[in-house]
């Protein structure tokens, strides 16, 4: 530790040998401990003990102060914990918020494991590098390495060394003092004065490695920037090809070969008991619709005799089977804009953006598209709400059903908005509320 500081003085040109320290060898730890207590009490500051194993109590004998390392580690731990919180908040809640199962973007409990881990990681680094830093390590050269007897300090020798840079150091007096402590022998440690500079090959190699390290980075950058016909490189094969079942995939695990599992026979999942026919099918309940199966409601359903099923005569509900309010209307308008307007258009004329583009292509003989029927025609306008609901659910003609995308309540909301759209082209002045009428008649 302390001996390191003498190294700074040397300058390459002046190859003058220089006394660095005086070493005393002792027979064992007890003698060394005794000598250390004496040296401590004599007021020396730049000196150290060297032993082959840790000696209990040597710190007290040398008067060494307790290390500051624990405080460094504590600061690093707090820093690690704070970093973890800040990082998770920044990534998950600020920079790239991503909704997962309706969970909050940021919450403390889920952050804790990372806080714990980063605190430990930072602490571990602080412990290692703090220890190295406080001890002045790594040290490539020390004059002690040149003392032959000193080599056995890692086997069975016990040394005490006092440096020449110590303010109380005086070669003769120090030797006399050490002699009075009954050492095995006393030795001088000389610095030969040869250059201490790190060989240039070290830096050359480092520079070479540094240049080589750029190559993979450049290769990756090139691959990312240029188009290529080659199949994708899988950097992490097992992450790209996880042994897990994805939707609609085959599986060897199950006898029927399906990856997705069917509900267990005779069970109903929570929230899946759909007995209310008016709400779930748009049909009047009871005996009226008892004969109508779910299959008969599907798009393009065929009866047993091979004839297409005509659902126009089904006992559809004519009233909404749920409470109708402003909120439901707003929801219907929003959902309509998402799911229906692309084809049917925002006003229900059957000229949404997709339809416009598809008709253009059809006109050029590049495809076949049937323009959706306008809502503002009598056959559609007269349909009971239950039938409209079934159309949204199961589709009609070319239109597919939306049951899998849109929950029942939202489908009813869309039907409600449809009724409002139809009304917008088919209203008489009598439909306008009196106060609105008055306001309109007054003009701007």
């Amino acid at each position: 530790m302390a001996i390191v500081e003498s190294d700074e003085v040397a300058k390459p040109p002046a190859a003058q040998p220089k006394l660095v320290s005086v070493l005393a060898e002792f027979a064992g730890p007890r003698e060394l401990m005794h000598a250390a207590e004496k040296i401590r009490d004599s007021g020396f500051t730049k000196w150290d003990c060297f032993t082959p194993f840790p000696v209990h109590g040597i710190d007290d004998a040398m008067g060494t102060k307790r290390t500051k390392l624990p405080f460094i580690v504590l600061c690093a731990a707090i820093c690690g914990g704070t970093t973890a919180i800040a990082m998770q908040w920044f990534c998950n809640a600020y920079d790239y918020p991503f909704m997962i199962s309706g969970k909050p973007f940021f919450s403390l409990p889920s952050s804790m494991p990372v806080v714990f881990e980063l605190s430990v990681l930072f602490s571990a680094f602080a412990t290692l590098f703090g220890m190295l830093g406080l001890n002045g390590l790594p040290q490539l050269y020390n004059a002690l390495f040149k003392v032959d007897n000193f080599r056995r300090v890692t086997d069975d020798k016990f040394f005490l060394g006092i440096e020449t840079t110590d303010p109380k150091f005086n070669v003769d007096q120090t030797k006399t003092l050490l002699n009075s402590l009954h050492p095995v022998l006393i030795e001088e440690c000389w610095d030969s004065g040869e250059t201490r500079a790190i060989p240039s090959i070290f830096f050359k190699t480092l520079a070479m490695l540094g240049l080589l390290a750029i190559v993979p980075v450049v290769m990756v950058a090139q691959l990312r920037a240029l188009p290529s016909n080659l199949p994708r490189l899988h950097g992490q094969w097992d992450m790209d090809h996880q042994p897990k079942l994805k939707t609609q995939k085959h599986s060897e695990l199950f006898v029927d070969g399906r990856g997705m599992r069917l509900p267990i026979a005779n069970t109903v999942a929570f929230g899946e008991l759909k007995t209310d026919r008016s709400f779930y099918n748009g049909l009047q309940g009871g005996a009226a619709s008892a004969e109508i199966t779910d299959a008969m409601l599907l798009r393009g359903a065929v009866a047993a005799n091979g004839e297409p099923v005509n659902n126009g005569s089904f006992p559809w509900v004519t009233e909404f089977p749920l409470e109708v309010d402003e909120q439901l209307m707003a929801r219907g308008r929003e959902r309509y804009g998402i799911y229906c307007a692309p084809c049917h258009g925002y006003e229900g004329d059957g000229n949404g953006l997709i339809t416009q583009r598809a008709m253009e292509l059809t006109g050029n003989g590049r495809g076949a598209w049937v323009k959706p029927v306008s809502y503002h025609s009598d056959p559609i306008r007269m349909q009971p709400v239950g039938k409209l609901f079934n159309t949204v659910t199961n589709g009609q003609g070319r239109m597919p059903g939306y049951a899998s995308q849109i929950p029942e309540k939202d489908r009813w909301a869309i039907v409600l908005y449809l009724k409002a759209l139809m009304k917008s082209r088919d209203a008489s002045p009598d439909d306008v509320p009196a106060d609105v009428k008055e306001r309109l008649s007054q003009g701007p």
């Binding site: 730890p29 007890r30 209990h56 109590g57 624990p70 504590l74 409990p109 889920s110 804790m112 494991p113």
Partner: protein, 410 residues
């Protein structure tokens, strides 16, 4: 250390448990029985108060039991891994572990409650609850009065038997100084650790977890075990510090180094408790499954929610920072404070685990809690002192005693 001179201790110089006072066990026994009986009498006039009394009884029963269990486990570990430093304080831990016997007596009223068909405590004892909850129907073979009793008998056979065995062997060594006993205890210790892990886990399920009709937590046994360590380490440290303060133990035998290590165990127990309590919470919070979160839901509302925060900060964050410094761990007065503080926190932890099942909406704290706590502590103290008798405060002829006295902390 090689240069340390061996210290010879004998029964006269170290003192024994009879020196601690004039027959404290008789006074304690009287106080204990009167306090428990008085609170039972005061609560007997209404069903709500009676239920409150029984739950309070369970809280405090678990509280006094955890000291004994923690000590039991810790001593077993000392034997198995041949710990040297702890020999000078092991006798005190052994005496703390003797609480298992008085706890066995204190458990009898709880058995009576189960067999009387009382349904206000453990819902599995109520056929109506079982019939109405398909989720618990399958537990019927495991959770019924007969099985409950059989298991409890097994737990106490293990705890009382093993703590008595360890104590007997250890005190015999005081006389004979036979090092073979130390070797034998290594084997017994291994068995004790296994038996402790099994019995403590299942006891926690039986007595605390099953207060809720559907809740389950596989980590709860470890949570309970962490509580045992918190309670035991705080109590042992407190006893050692008080014996040192009053001069019953010599500071040249139990040095600052031993106190430092005991405090480190307290610090560890606090961290371990926090780690487990949080692990349990995190998984339930993440999975968000109704029958699992229900337990936490009532414990994070109203007064219980406030108590939950008291535990997060008071049982973990504050003592974690407070006991972190080496200087604090070596300061006897500060550690006396932290020991008392952690003993209170440990009680609140058990209160928070058990009580909301009786009173989900508010904290029903009252005179019953105080009376039963005083009664149980006094009763167990009497039972322990009666067993300890004239035993020396230190295992005076343990072969590792010199090593222990010379122990030096880095």
């Amino acid at each position: 250390m090689a240069h340390h001179h061996p210290v010879k201790l004998d029964a006269e110089t170290v003192g024994n448990f009879n020196d601690l006072g004039e027959a404290p066990e008789r006074t304690a026994l009287i106080v204990g029985v009167i306090a428990i009986a008085a609170s039972a009498f005061l609560s007997a006039f209404s069903a709500v108060n009676w239920q409150h009394f029984l739950f309070t009884y369970l809280v405090n029963f678990c509280y006094v039991l955890t000291f004994s269990l923690g000590a039991f486990f810790f001593i077993a570990v000392q034997f198995v891994i041949r710990v040297g430093w702890s020999v000078v304080v092991r006798r005190i831990m052994e005496v703390v572990s003797l609480g298992a016997l008085p706890c066995a007596i204190l458990f009898l009223p709880l058995l009576a409650v189960v067999w009387s068909g009382y349904t206000g405590m453990w819902p599995w004892n109520d056929p109506k609850v079982i019939a109405e909850n398909h989720l618990v129907e399958r537990r019927d073979d495991w959770m019924n009065p007969t099985m409950f009793t059989l298991r409890a008998v097994f737990y106490f056979l293990v705890w009382v038997g093993m703590t008595r065995l360890i104590f007997k062997k250890s005190t015999r060594q005081d006389v004979t100084g036979d090092p073979k006993i130390t070797n034998q205890m290594e084997g017994w210790g291994a068995l004790c650790i296994f038996l402790f892990a099994t019995t403590a886990t299942f006891a926690a399920f039986d007595w605390i977890v099953s207060l809720d009709k559907v809740w389950f937590s596989t980590i709860f046994g470890v949570y309970f075990f962490a509580g045992c360590l918190v309670g035991f380490s705080s109590l042992t440290n407190l006893i050692v510090l008080i014996l040192l303060k009053t001069g019953k133990l010599s500071p040249s035998v139990v040095t600052v180094e031993h106190r430092h290590n005991l405090s480190k165990i307290m610090f560890f127990a606090t961290c371990f408790w926090g780690y487990n309590a949080f692990s349990q919470y995190l998984l339930y919070w993440y999975a968000n499954i109704p029958e699992e979160t229900g337990w936490f839901l009532i414990r994070e509302k109203g007064g219980w929610g406030f108590l939950a925060y008291v535990l997060i900060f008071g049982h973990f964050a504050i003592p974690f920072l407070g006991m972190m410094s080496r200087a604090v761990k070596r300061n006897a007065n500060l550690m006396i404070f932290w020991c008392c503080y952690m003993l209170v926190m440990h009680w609140l932890d058990l209160y928070w685990q058990i009580m909301p099942n009786m009173s989900p909406d508010f904290i029903p704290f009252g005179i019953t809690e105080v009376l039963v706590l005083v009664g149980m502590v006094a009763f167990v103290f009497a039972g322990v002192m009666w067993q300890a008798g004239g035993t020396p405060l230190v295992a005076i002829k343990d072969p590792r005693l010199d090593e222990s006295i010379a122990f030096h902390d880095i």
